[in-house]
Amino acid sequence: MPAFEARVDVQHLPGIADPAGATVERALPALGYTKVTHVRIGKTIRLVVDAPDAAQARAQVEEMCERLLANPVIEAYEVTISELVPSARVSSERVP
């Protein structure tokens, strides 16, 4: 079964306080970056999941987001799926 790497980007929903982002936004002008707004700090979760295809990998990860990785009451998430390609050496060994 192929393996897929999932990258889950979790961000606060609009209107939800983000003190870390707000603090960074206040710090940036001190370095001369005076035109920066909308700093938001979220988190990235990466995981590898075995699934028959990308669509099923995505479905599994989205379910994980709903049930654990994010709290839908206060957080939004975005899932990016990419198939893990076996390393070149391993694949060349597989070639007869």
Binding site: H12, I16, A17, D18, P19, A22, T23, L68, L69, N71, V73, I74
Partner: protein, 224 residues
């Protein structure tokens, strides 16, 4: 026989002894429920105390809900058993879907540690049955993520079913609709950010939390 109150101990809980002390001052008996146990030891009520259960990793309360004792508490609650979550315990109960909504970071972006005034909004809950509606209680808060939030439909439901148990008189953390505590539809599960156990004796600066803890003991329906 005195009411037996089980107080959950997760790795990272830090208010369990205070809760047990306060419960026992009022004539109840308190005992620890270890988070890894899969039962509630036959107690008459459960308190999920404050602290940082499982380090608050991922989100406050998010990992605690997978502790075996939480399944037992869910069953206990479903059977009508009184369950109260205080501070981190409230966060755990929302993550466990025993209570609606979530607790986000305080609007002022500050950790708050102060005594606030709460107004009792309903006496129909296991935490307020001995109080008066409109009664104002001085109880400490001690949190960073205490800013209650829920979607519009949930808020409408809370209003329609009179499930906002206590409100802040002067909202310290940005909570939606000044909400400091809510209950479930069965009114036997209550979560609140303020700490009644820290207002359980005049020597602590306030004894206003006593009426809440007495309510919980009364809800146990154990013959005195």
């Amino acid at each position: 026989m005195s009411a037996r109150v089980g107080v959950v101990l997760f790795p990272g809980s830090n208010c369990e002894q205070d809760v047990i002390f306060a419960v026992e001052e009022l004539g109840g008996s308190g005992e620890i429920l270890w988070h890894g146990d899969d039962n509630t030891k036959g107690v008459d009520a459960v308190i999920v105390p404050g602290g940082f259960a499982h380090g608050d990793y991922l989100r406050t309360g998010a990992i605690a809900r997978f502790s075996p004792v939480m399944s037992a508490i869910s069953e206990f609650a479903a059977a009508g058993g009184p369950v109260v979550g205080i501070c981190n315990g409230f966060q755990v109960l929302t993550e466990a879907h025993l209570l609606p909504g979530a607790l986000q970071k305080n609007a002022g972006l500050k950790f708050l540690c102060e005594t606030v005034e709460l107004r009792v909004e309903t006496t129909s809950s296991v935490l307020t049955n001995a109080a008066r509606t409109g009664q104002v209680l001085r109880v400490p808060i001690n949190h960073f993520e205490g800013n209650y939030v829920c979607d519009r439909a949930t808020l409408d439901e809370l209003h329609a079913e009179d499930r906002i148990v206590v409100r802040y008189v002067d909202n310290p953390n940005g909570s939606l609709d000044d909400i400091a505590g809510v209950c479930n539809a069965g009114r036997n599960v209550v979560g609140l950010m303020p700490h009644p156990e820290r207002a359980s004796h005049q020597i602590l600066g306030s004894a206003d939390g006593v009426v809440m803890l007495r309510s919980l003991l009364a809800a146990c329906r154990v013959p005195a």
